[in-house]
């Protein structure tokens, strides 16, 4: 395609939103918001996109307005970050339960307390049980590509669930990088028009959404939600396959990097996966058999496929950019440990909590970590299973 330009992650995602041209975008500039909606609102003001841009009075209202628009039959989006997502939380859960295929970029940043605006995954991890589909990208390109695929996944008739497209705050959102842009017309055709099967403004076929649903039926409706969740992996793969045919850029549920013969594996989410690749290349030269599994689809969690990909690995370092305050490590670690239990293997699984509040994670840090994991492989001895890497005592 050869359409390579240099943009920040925020600019890339805002451009993707312009190309998708949703019917409605509702947003509120909480601090820290993202530049995504700021840039998008400029497109609207300049007449570059005919989206109805609703300026609301809070993030709770932003998600409520997106909910209303989506229920009415519109393709709706918003974007948020950090505390903005926390303020949305009530409605985030409702949109998923109402099976509204809203798409929302999230710029992942620490939740305030004390105030911090930098990258970690503590914001998005609070909605991991909401039945939103959570996609993660390593860089601006992947954030943009995930966004272009998000509507297709969300609106698929087997799914009808909202999708959050995540990218690392500042590290990706505010950094300029090269990205390959898909032409407007190609995006338009790929994403397609939105024709919901059921919606409130369909006067000929009146329906109700979100009425009282007590002990007699709520469980059945949740069951339907679970059935839809089971089909997400397949739809993600199918849409990604079509996207690859269009762009030559291949995506799966996760990415395997030099994992085939690996004895040590890191599992990471987001930009640190890219830094880990450099560390892995360096240590491979020294003969250490190390690889990476980079999560793309985090919810629903492709446990079976991940376990299969980790076959033969002796030591697994699960990297969490968020704590769960459970004394059992971070959220990804809990997922991986649970998945590994089913296969009853002998692999050692360790947890590395890192990068909280934007703490930098360098190539050297990752080399140190891999060396530690390699030592576990050789000796079978673990001093501490859960490490908080790079924190002062």
């Amino acid at each position: 395609m050869g359409n390579r330009i240099a943009l920040t992650g925020n600019e890339a995602v805002a451009l993707g939103m312009k190309q998708i041209a949703p019917d409605v975008v509702a947003a509120y500039p909480i601090t820290p918001q993202t530049e995504v909606v700021q840039i998008f609102s400029q497109y609207v003001a300049d007449g570059d996109v005919d989206t109805e841009f609703v300026t609301v009075e809070s993030e709770h209202s932003a998600m409520s307005a997106a909910l209303g628009a989506s229920a009415a039959g519109a393709r709706a989006m918003t974007a948020t970050s950090s505390n903005g997502l926390e303020l949305m939380f009530e409605v985030v859960n409702i949109t998923a339960s109402l099976r509204l295929p809203i798409v929302m970029p999230i710029v992942n940043r620490a939740i305030t307390g004390p105030i911090n605006i930098h990258c970690d995954h503590s914001d998005v991890m609070t909605i991991r049980d909401s039945s939103w589909i959570l996609l993660f990208g390593e860089n601006a390109q992947e954030a943009y590509d995930n966004l272009l695929m998000a509507n297709r996944i969300a609106e698929h008739s087997d799914i009808l669930l909202p999708v959050a497209v995540n990218m690392d705050g500042f590290i990706i959102s505010h950094a300029v990088e090269n990205i390959e842009i898909v032409e407007d017309e190609v995006v338009k055709e790929f994403v397609g028009d939105y024709y919901p099967e059921k919606y409130l403004l369909d006067a000929a076929n009146p329906i109700t959404m979100g009425p009282v649903d007590l002990q007699d039926y709520l469980f059945e409706h949740k069951r339907q939600q679970i059935e839809a969740i089971k089909k997400v992996s397949g739809v993600v793969r199918q849409v990604s396959q079509e996207f690859a045919e269009l762009t030559g850029r291949h995506y799966d549920l996760f990415e395997e990097y030099r994992l085939d013969d690996a004895e040590v594996a890191l599992i990471a989410i987001g930009s640190t996966a890219g830094t880990a690749k450099a560390a892995i290349d360096n240590l491979r030269e020294q003969g250490i058999k190390v690889g990476l599994l980079k999560i793309r689809l985090y919810r629903p969690f492709p446990a079976k496929e991940i376990v299969e990909a980790l076959k033969g690995v002796k030591t697994i370092g699960v990297m969490d950019r968020a704590e769960s305050y459970s004394n059992t490590g971070g959220p990804l670690y809990a997922d991986i440990r649970a998945a590994m239990y089913d296969v009853g293997g002998t692999a050692q699984v360790m947890n590395i909590v890192y990068g909280i509040g934007g703490r930098d994670m360098t190539v050297r840090d990752l080399e140190n970590l891999i060396t530690q994991l390699q030592k576990v492989t050789e000796t079978g001895e673990i001093e501490e299973r859960i490490i908080h890497y790079g924190v002062r005592d």
Partner: protein, 191 residues
């Protein structure tokens, strides 16, 4: 040019370090390079020390961390030298460019850095060409010259496009900024 060139910009809030790193990145991207340009965000205050970075490569860059061992350091404000070790981590065979009226030999002594030291009176150039001290554009020109990234003619063509986009609402400053770049190519000096 090295396969991967890593640059660290030191300046003060308001001097345009971040803008310079982005302009350099975008110009290099336009020329077909793989780039990163990113600031180290702290509290945003006018006059506070700030840092920005560039990675420029012939291959895709997957690393996403700060640069600890740059090939080149650019100092937009010489008063930073008294409080910050601007040469920290700078490779032994690296280069440093300082915005100062001081000759490079004297600056080299002051920094105590054994590698190549360059100076440019970026404030002076900017005051003459733009009527105000915006040291970032002249320093951008100095970076391109010192690294031999592009010839002056090539870079002027690339940066013209970036200026046209950046100053779409202030086209009157474009000519002065281009003149800053041209002069910095001619006036940046090593010891």
């Amino acid at each position: 040019m090295a396969q991967l060139l890593e640059i660290r910009w030191h300046g003060r809030g308001g001097q345009g370090s971040k803008t310079a790193s982005i302009l350099l990145g975008k110009a290099c991207s336009e020329a077909g390079k793989f780039i990163q340009a990113f600031p180290e965000y702290g509290p945003e205050r006018m006059g506070a020390p700030v840092i920005a970075y560039n990675r420029i490569s012939d291959q895709q860059v997957s690393v996403h961390c700060q640069i600890e061992e740059p090939d080149l350091v650019v100092v937009l404000d010489p008063t930073l030298i008294a409080t910050i070790d601007v040469a920290e981590g700078l490779k032994a065979d690296g280069k440093i460019i300082v915005n100062t009226e001081m000759p490079a030999s004297k600056m080299k002594e002051k920094l105590g850095y054994a590698g190549e030291v360059y100076t440019l009176d970026a404030n002076g150039i900017s005051e003459q060409e733009l009527g105000k001290a915006f040291p970032n554009t002249p320093m951008l020109g100095a970076v391109v010259k010192v690294t031999n990234m592009f010839s002056m003619e090539e870079f002027m063509e690339l940066i013209k496009k970036e200026f046209a986009a950046k100053f779409a609402h202030k086209p009157e400053v474009i000519a002065g900024n281009l003149q800053c770049i041209k002069r910095s190519f001619e006036e940046v000096k090593s010891e």
